[in-house]
Symmetry: none
Subunit: 155 residues, 2 copies
DNA sequence: TGATTAGTGGGGAAAAGTGGGGGAAAGTGG
DNA sequence: CCACTTTCCCCCACTTTTCCCCACTAATCA
């Protein structure tokens, strides 16, 4: 589900505030769970490269497409290796538990600065998990407005 | 319905004062409901980028066209990511309930400064939901006049 | 002035999110 | 190979949110 003509459809939208409990679990928003393909969905949890780090969650199928692109590249390339060490080296595969929650491994939690309150943000093909202050900084209206100016010619 | 020769027709016009109840619900004006395509219409509720933020409501089909444009762009681009985090990250998908109301999620309500009284404003292909004072500021006659000057060459 | 239609408000069932107890499974050290 | 600890994940209980249904008011129109 979710495929259409070999390309993924736009799926994840909106933001949701959830809480990471003492055991490191967070519930995935119900809307997102549906888009992931229900109960036994597989996901990949990785670190974002942006200055304000967040975590990025990919449906398994979307992630696999990325991996295929990487595999097609010349493997001796040092820059690619550095990139993969980061992207793949930290990637955690997991599934949802019966209550629709995932477990965020401590290193990832720390990287993204996640404490009790976390924001889920949908960005079409995948979604992100943010610390509140970082998200605010990353989506501050000044920043967004200047970006919008630049992109507005495109559509 | 709604389409004509691949381009959307102008649909939403006028302003209406409605009230947001304690549960965060507002009735969509009947005129707008018809243009949305009746009872089981799907909508997208998003944030505007303007300094005085309001909410923007798109018929599902109009919004999807936007998303398709975004998906066609290179996804690694940082500026696009920032843009999507704002546009898509605030987008809430929803449907009308049996009384023709929508539920405005708390984060959006807060961002747009909506309390009990809200204004609906039609702007052709979509419509907006405003806090009264903000709307007044955004449509002050001085402001409108200066904008009109700038645009006067175009039509 | 009754009838129809739009908007408003609230009760209540169902669904979604939260937190903790405890057993299974995996990892660690003798 | 066997304790012992740690991690994970199931189940259950509780709270909050969402969304159905129904009933009331206001406005419109013949």
């Amino acid at each position: 589900m979710g495929k259409s003509g070999g390309k993924w459809m736009a799926f994840f939208r909106g933001r949701f505030l959830h809480s990471l409990d003492a055991k490191g679990r967070v519930a995935i928003p119900q809307r997102f769970r549906e888009s992931l393909g229900g109960e036994e969905a597989e996901i990949r949890l990785v670190m974002s490269v942006d200055p304000e780090g967040c975590l990025v969650v990919y449906p398994e199928a979307v992630w696999r497409e990325l991996e295929q692109k990487w595999e097609a590249l010349p493997q001796m390339n040092d820059e690619l290796k550095t990139y993969l060490r980061f992207m793949v080296g930290w990637a955690s595969d997991g599934a949802l538990d019966r209550q629709g929650r995932i477990l965020v491994p401590p290193p990832l939690r720390e990287y993204a600065g996640l404490d009790h309150e976390v924001w889920f943000v949908g960005v079409l093909q995948n979604f992100e998990i943010w610390n509140g202050e970082r998200l605010e900084k990353a989506t501050g209206s000044d920043r967004v407005r200047s970006v919008t100016q630049k992109l507005s010619g495109l559509f």
